[in-house]
Amino acid sequence: MSSTESGADVAPVVEPPVGGQALTDFALDEGPADLKGAMRASFDRIRGGELGSIPAVLAIIVLVAIFGLTRPDSFLSKLNFANFLEQASSIIVIAMAVTFVLLLGEIDLAAGYTAGVAGAVLATRLQADWPLIPAAGMSMLVALALGVFTGFMVAKVGIPSFVVTLANVLLFQGILLLLVREGGSVRIQSEAVNDLVGGALSPGLSWLVSAIGVGLFALSQVRRQRESHGAIPMSLVWLRVGFAVVLVGVITFVLNQNRAFANAPAPIKGMPIVIPVLAVMVVVLSFVLSRTAYGRHLYAVGGNAEAARRAGINVQRLRLSAFAVTGVIAGIGGWFLASRVNSVDANTGANDTLLLAVGAAVIGGTSLFGGRGRMVNAVLGGLVLALIPNGLGLVGKTTLLGYDIDFSSSGVKFIASGVALLAASSVDALSRKRTT
């Protein structure tokens, strides 16, 4: 056997590669081991067309800079920061939901209405004086049933997902209308539900949650470094952990300041509850995608379904399950939607909800062609798509080149979001061209 065996535990000296031919077998597997090597490796990946979430991160930085410069007092206010995170939360959850089917190269156009129906089930059960847990369980069960139904139609009957979920848009909208009774709205009294989006942790608890979060992150990074047997340099781990400490520390500090208006009756301070909830969801779902065989098989089917089938993967069952998972997570997204306005009506999950969710996933770097995407993409893309209306709304009316433009109008917001989505899918399509 070759020298690769011994290279695992001793940090080897890697000759700088002089063109592809000069490298012997697995030369790169013995590196990078130092920070420079790790950075070069990720730079090579980017050049190879694997942009991942870089466009989304850039978009966030650019948008924050633009809005921050034009409206420093309102956009950069602490209240708006918390508000914006809450606006983004439901888009992010539904984007995470559709990521599962997007990975297969499928689509769920009705995920928004799945969320609406789940929200309506929760609201009506609570109104019927069910306790919270059974009501939430019922809501989740209904969302699962809707997902399984979609998956059955796609995987077993063999109808393209685009068509099935197009029909579902009408079907689920009908169910939603029946549940909330036309024109009606179901109020939610449960404080636990209403606090999901809008509630805040106490400042002390905020620090505790932040500390636990960063601690777990550090632990997982160190573990991964150890499991990589030298492929990940320790300095990179410290860099990441240090960055996380600073970022989370600053965010927690800002959120722990009173952000209510000067004449408000009570102070508002502490981390919005959505943040730890979203963080837990991202971690759990990312784990499923990247560390389990199930997740691996999702990517495989999205990449080459025939190869996956020949490798013994039950492609039909996997498709069905992906739609089921999408249904359940979209259902949880419905709770976020309901919690934000403390009620459910015929518009919950309707209109542009689904488009924004799919848009968020794609802007974050998830491919519409299947086989590529992560949970973090949904978060980053969701932030971009929430930043646009939030910032534009605060910019308001301005005179530009002699024209009066109302940036807070829906027209401008739609156009801006549409442009962002087109830009993101162009990046997706072009980088795909480059890698194949």
Binding site: S2, T4, F26, D29, A293, R296, A300, G303, A307, G371
Partner: protein, 270 residues
């Protein structure tokens, strides 16, 4: 690599007992009989080239061995015992692996992920990446692969020859005893063809029985220990690859089922 064989008629060269012996295989699709009393042997540690024109029955024969087609009549003996290969799973369980021309790789996954697709190693439910990486590297090293920079490279970034290499390594990983390669060099350039042929030799050197389907007679002459030529659904000849075998004789066997005094008798060849 070639086994010494002083006998010219091809019947008495003794490479030991065959690992796989398909005896009297018949297969029809409706009224069309595709395989006629096929007698096909594959020996461990040897490369058996399966040649023949399009429609001669090569693919059907391979699919019968791989459990994709059920046979109408005949016996398949594997390792001396009669084997009933009714579905692909049964073939896999015996250690029969087929690398089809389309390779069946997922471009969006890396080499390790492809090699372990559908049989991932897990530790308490979590993917054991390190163990898979090690095993993948060992398998590639045992095949003498020297062209892969990292086992964590995505398949989309690999060349055609490298992809063929990965597909073969994927087939070999585990308990492969017999590997069928369907035109592994058809789409490759000169240098890459050479790499893949080296790998084929190395595979047989490791004791694996290799069936090489190829239309390229130079490849066949270079790596094959034995040649089975098919003509119109029959085995026209089963010969050791010795110095009497030439490109011309192989082409004659493929096109007419006869070459000199070997091959099918006139009656059968229509």
């Amino acid at each position: 690599m070639n086994q010494p064989s002083g006998v010219l008629d091809g019947s008495a060269a003794d490479p030991g007992p065959p690992l796989l012996h398909a005896d009297g295989l018949n297969k029809s699709f409706g009224p069309v009989q595709v395989l006629h009393d096929v007698d096909f042997r594959v020996y461990p540690g040897q490369v058996t080239a399966l040649i023949g024109d399009n429609g001669a029955g090569k693919s059907t024969l391979v699919k019968c061995i791989a459990g994709i087609h059920a046979i109408d009549a005949g016996v398949i003996r594997f390792d001396g015992a009669e084997a009933h290969i009714d579905d692909p799973k049964a073939a896999t369980a015996l250690g029969i692996k087929v690398v089809y021309q389309d390779l069946a790789l997922c471009e969006n996954l890396d080499i390790v992920q492809n090699m372990f697709l559908g049989r991932e190693l897990t530790k308490r439910g979590v993917l054991d990446e390190h163990a898979m990486e090690q095993a993948a590297r060992e398998t590639l090293a045992s095949l003498g692969v020297r062209t892969v920079k990292s086992v964590r490279q995505q398949v989309s970034s690999l060349s055609g020859g490298q992809r063929q290499t990965v597909a073969i390594a994927k087939a070999v990983l585990g308990n492969a005893q017999l590997v069928v390669l369907d035109e592994p060099t058809a789409a490759l350039g000169v240098a890459q063809t050479e790499q893949v042929l080296d790998l084929v030799k190395r595979l047989a050197g490791n004791g694996v029985a290799v069936v090489l389907i190829s239309h390229n007679m130079n490849d066949v002459l270079e790596v094959a220990d034995r040649v089975s030529a098919m003509y119109l659904g029959r085995i026209a000849a089963d010969l050791p690859n010795d110095d009497t075998m030439t490109r011309e004789s192989l082409v004659q066997l493929i096109t007419s089922g006869r070459a000199g005094d070997i091959g099918l008798t006139e009656g059968i060849t229509e």
